[in-house]
C-alpha cells in the first residue's frame, strides 16, 4: 500500500485517543468484556468514538478534533461518564494506567478481528504482552514538511511527556522501579523507537517509506510503532509515548501542553533539529521512564545535565503565553501541579502502600477515573 498524500489539516487542532482497562470487580484482574461493553454502547449515540483493541480486556476511546483545552476536557468527561455508566450496568470496572499491575499476559484473549489475529500470529507472546494502555495525542499540521519538522523538533521534549503521564509502575505483580514500565514493552517491537531523520515529506516518502515497503517488512504507517509518527491520512503527527493517565483531566492537560509546544516550535525560534539530537535520545527516554520527574536529562545540543522536573517547569513557564493564546492555561496549570504533587505512578505506589495489595491499587484507580 503506497503512502497516502499528506492531507492538510488545521494547524494546532488536536485529538486524543485513550486505551482503557476493563477490570472485573470481583478480583480486580483484567476481564475480557469489551464485546459486551461495545454491544451496550452501540445502542445509543456515543459522545466521541469507541473501538475494540487487540485484547478483549481493553477498549480505546477517542475525542473529536478539538481546538481548545476546555472543549476537549468537556468531551472527554462526557465520554468518561458514558463509559462509567455502561460499565456499571455490566459490572465492569474501567480505569486508566499504563499497565495493569498484576494481570498475567498468558490469560489475555485476542479480539476477534482479522488484523488483531494476524498481529497475534506474527508477534506471538509479544502481542499479548502488548496489553498496555497508552494515550495518543494528534496535532494537526498544514503540510507534511511541517509534520516532519515538528516530529523531530519535539524529540527533545519526549521525556517530559513520559514523566508527566507515567502511570505504569507495576508489571506482573511486581514493582518494576520504573515510573513508566509500559514503554519497555513497546521497545520489544522491531519497528519501534524513533522515526528516521528526514525533514521533507517528498524524501520521506521516496527515500524511506517506499524502500521499506519494497523490502516487504512493512505495509503501511500502522506497522511503525514510533514514539512520534506522522499520520498522513489525518494530516497530523501522533505522540505515542504517554501512559494513559488515571484521569481524563490529565489526558486533556497533556494534549494542551503538546499543542502549546507545537505552536512555539512552529515559530522556528529554537535551533533547528539535527540528526545528532538523537545521540542522547534513548538515554533521556530511559531516564524519564525509570525515574519519572526525578530523572536527569542531557540537553541534546548543549550536553548540559538538567533535572527533568526543572526542565519541565521552565518549559511550562515559557509555554504560558502560547497556552493563553490557545485557551490552554488550565491544562498547563494542571501540569505545574503534577510536578509538585507527583505523577500517577507516584499515586499508585502510595495506594499500594496504603492498601497492602495490588488489588487495592486497581480499586483506587477505578475510583480516580470516575471522578478525576
Amino acid at each position: 500500500m503506497p503512502l497516502p498524500p499528506f492531507k492538510s489539516s488545521t494547524p494546532l487542532s488536536m485529538g486524543v485517543e485513550l486505551e482503557l482497562q476493563l477490570v472485573s470487580l470481583s478480583d480486580y484482574d483484567l476481564t475480557a468484556s469489551s464485546p459486551d461493553l461495545l454491544h451496550l454502547l452501540g445502542r445509543k449515540p456515543f459522545p466521541g468514538n469507541v473501538t475494540p483493541e487487540i485484547t478483549e480486556s481493553m477498549i480505546e476511546i477517542n475525542s473529536d478534533v478539538q481546538h481548545q483545552h476546555d472543549a476537549l476536557l468537556v468531551q472527554l468527561e462526557l465520554v468518561r461518564d458514558t463509559l462509567v455508566q455502561a460499565g456499571e450496568r455490566l459490572n465492569i470496572g474501567i480505569c486508566g494506567g499504563g499497565t495493569h499491575p498484576f494481570q498475567k499476559w498468558t490469560e489475555r484473549r485476542i479480539y476477534a478481528k482479522p488484523r488483531f489475529k494476524e498481529v497475534s500470529a506474527l508477534y506471538g507472546y509479544l502481542a499479548k504482552q502488548f496489553t498496555i494502555f497508552g494515550q495518543h495525542v494528534h496535532i494537526g499540521c498544514a503540510s507534511g514538511d511541517d509534520a516532519l519538522y515538528l516530529l523531530h523538533a519535539l524529540s527533545r521534549y519526549v521525556p517530559h511527556f513520559i514523566a508527566l503521564s507515567s502511570s505504569s509502575p507495576f508489571v506482573q505483580a511486581n514493582d518494576t522501579l520504573f515510573n513508566s514500565a509500559r514503554l519497555n514493552s513497546v521497545f520489544a517491537f522491531p519497528m519501534s523507537g524513533r522515526a528516521p531523520f528526514l525533514l521533507d515529506w517528498a524524501s520521506f516518502e521516496r527515500d524511506y517509506f517506499a524502500k521499506m515497503e519494497h523490502t516487504g517488512v512493512i505495509n503501511s504507517m500502522k506497522d511503525f510503532y514510533w514514539d512520534i509518527r506522522p499520520k498522513p491520512e489525518y494530516g497530523t503527527i501522533e505522540l505515542r509515548v504517554c501512559d494513559t493517565p488515571l484521569t481524563v483531566a490529565r489526558a486533556a492537560a497533556l494534549a494542551s501542553y503538546l499543542q502549546a509546544l507545537c505552536a512555539y516550535l512552529l515559530e522556528r525560534r529554537e535551533a533547528a533539529p539535527l540528526e545528532d539530537d538523537y545521540l542522547v535520545y534513548n538515554y533521556n527516554r530511559f531516564q524519564a521512564c525509570r525515574f519519572g520527574l526525578d530523572g536527569t536529562l542531557v540537553h541534546p545540543q548543549t550536553y548540559e545535565s538538567l533535572s527533568l522536573r526543572e526542565d519541565i517547569l521552565t518549559t511550562l513557564r515559557r509555554m504560558a503565553p502560547y497556552g493563553a493564546a490557545l485557551g490552554g492555561t488550565a491544562g498547563l496549570e494542571h501540569l505545574v501541579a503534577v510536578t509538585h504533587e507527583g505523577s500517577d505512578a507516584h499515586y499508585l505506589r502510595q495506594q499500594f502502600a496504603r492498601s497492602g495489595s495490588a488489588e487495592g491499587m486497581v480499586a483506587a484507580a477505578i475510583q480516580r477515573f470516575r471522578t478525576g
Partner: protein, 395 residues
C-alpha cells in the same frame, strides 16, 4: 471372606473418588465435557454396583465432608456476588425473581396435574427453582470464562438459591407444623432460621477480614483463614440447626464487601478444594437409586424440559432491558440448567424431620440425575457459544 467384603465396603468412597477423578481427567481431555458431569455419573454407577459402601446418614463423615466442600464453593460463590451491581441494574434481580417464580408455578402446575399431593408438589416446585451453585461455579472456573453470561449466571443463581431455600423452608415448616401451626408461623419460622444463618455468615465475613487486617497478612494467608472460617461455620450451622448454605454464602458475600481480596491462585481453594469437590459431586449422585430413576424418568424428563424452557424464556425476556443482547440472554438462561448438589444436600438435611422426598418421589431422583450430568454440559456449552471462554486453538 467376611473380612474381604468389609474391606471392599470400606474402600467404596476412596475408590469412587479416584475413579471419578480419572474418568473426569481422561474424558475431559477427549471430549472437553465438564469434569463434574463425569464425577456424578461415576458416583451414580458405583452406588448401584455397591449400594452398601455408599449408604450415608445425615451425620456421617461423608455427609459432613460434602457439606464442607459445598461450603467452600458457596463461599467462593458469595465472594463473586456484587450487591452494588444488583442495586444499579435492577433488571438482574427482576429477572432472577421472575424466573424463580415462573419455574415454581410451572413445576407446581405440572406435578399437580399428575395427581401428586399438594405438599409434595410444593416441595418439588421449590427445589426446581434453584440452580446448583456448585455446578455453575465449577464449570465457570474450569472453562475460565469471563463476560456477561458468566457474571449474570452467578448473580441469578444466588438469587434463585436463596428464594428456593426460603420457599422450601416455609413448605417444610408448614408440613411439620401442619397439625399444630399455620402458614404465618411457618413463614416466620423460616425467616428466623434463614436470618440466623445470614447473621452468622455476615458476622464471620466481617470478623475474618478484620482479623486478617490486624495480622497484616492480607495477600498470603487469606485463603487458609477463609477455609477455616467455612469449616467453623458449617459445623456451627449444623449444631445450631440453621442453613449452612445461606451461612456460607453470606460469609463469602460479607468477606467480599469487607474488601479483602483473594488472589486468583486460590481459586477452588487449591488442591484440597479440588479433592473435596470430587467427593461432593460423587456424593450427590450416590443417594439416587436406579429403580426410582427409571420409574420417574418420564415425569422427570417433562419437568426438566419445562424448567429449562421457563428459565431460558424468562431470563431472555429481560435481557435487553438489562443491557445485553437477546442471544446472551438466551444463553444465560441455558446456563442456569444444573440442579443437583444443592437439592441433595438440602434433602439430606431435612431427612430428620421425616421428609424423604428423594425416596418417595421418583421424578425428583430422575431430575437430579439428569441435571447433575446434563446441567454442567449445558452451562459449559452456553459459555462457549457466548464466546466467553478462551479460544481452544490458542490454549
Amino acid at each position: 471372606m467376611a473380612d474381604f467384603s468389609r474391606i471392599v465396603t470400606a474402600m467404596g468412597w476412596p475408590v469412587a473418588i479416584i475413579l471419578a477423578w480419572l474418568a473426569g481427567e481422561v474424558l475431559h481431555r477427549w471430549t472437553r465435557l465438564p469434569r463434574i458431569s463425569l464425577y456424578g455419573l461415576v458416583g451414580f454407577l458405583m452406588a448401584q454396583l455397591m449400594p452398601d459402601s455408599f449408604s450415608s446418614g445425615a451425620s456421617s463423615t461423608v455427609t459432613l465432608l460434602a457439606n464442607l466442600a459445598f461450603g467452600l464453593i458457596l463461599f467462593e460463590f458469595g465472594y463473586r456476588i456484587n450487591l452494588h451491581w444488583l442495586r444499579i441494574n435492577p433488571w438482574i434481580a427482576v429477572s432472577g425473581l421472575a424466573e424463580s417464580a415462573a419455574t415454581f408455578a410451572v413445576v407446581y402446575l405440572i406435578s399437580h396435574l399428575t395427581q401428586m399431593p399438594p405438599l409434595t408438589s410444593l416441595l418439588l416446585a421449590s427445589l426446581a427453582m434453584s440452580t446448583s451453585p456448585a455446578g455453575v461455579l465449577r464449570v465457570i472456573n474450569e472453562s475460565d470464562s469471563a463476560g456477561q453470561v458468566t457474571e449474570r449466571v452467578l448473580h441469578l443463581v444466588a438469587i434463585n438459591c436463596v428464594l428456593a431455600l426460603f420457599v422450601f423452608k416455609v413448605v417444610v415448616g408448614f408440613w411439620v407444623f401442619q397439625t399444630s401451626g399455620s402458614l404465618p408461623q411457618a413463614v416466620s419460622h423460616s425467616l428466623i432460621e434463614l436470618g440466623g444463618a445470614a447473621l452468622l455468615g455476615g458476622l464471620l465475613g466481617w470478623l475474618v477480614p478484620a482479623l486478617l487486617r490486624q495480622l497484616g497478612a492480607l495477600a498470603q494467608d487469606g485463603t487458609l483463614a477463609f477455609a477455616m472460617g467455612v469449616m467453623l461455620l458449617v459445623l456451627l450451622a449444623h449444631a445450631l440447626d440453621v442453613s449452612p448454605v445461606l451461612a456460607t454464602l453470606t460469609f463469602g458475600l460479607a468477606a467480599r464487601h469487607s474488601r479483602v481480596m483473594l488472589s486468583r491462585t486460590e481459586r477452588n481453594f487449591g488442591a484440597i478444594g479440588e479433592l473435596l469437590a470430587i467427593l461432593l459431586f460423587v456424593f450427590a449422585a450416590t443417594a439416587l437409586e436406579w429403580e426410582r430413576v427409571l420409574a420417574g424418568a418420564a415425569l422427570g424428563a417433562v419437568l426438566v424440559l419445562a424448567r429449562f424452557l421457563v428459565k431460558t424464556g424468562v431470563v431472555m425476556l429481560f435481557a435487553r432491558a438489562g443491557g445485553i443482547s437477546w442471544r446472551k440472554g438466551l444463553l444465560t438462561g441455558v446456563a442456569l440448567a444444573p440442579m443437583s448438589v444443592f437439592v441433595t444436600l438440602l434433602l439430606e438435611q431435612t431427612r430428620y424431620v421425616g421428609i424423604v422426598l428423594v425416596d418417595e418421589l421418583a421424578a425428583l431422583a430422575a431430575m437430579t440425575l439428569l441435571l447433575e450430568v446434563l446441567g454442567p454440559v449445558l452451562t459449559q456449552r452456553a459459555l462457549i457459544w457466548a464466546r466467553e471462554t478462551p479460544d481452544e486453538e490458542e490454549v
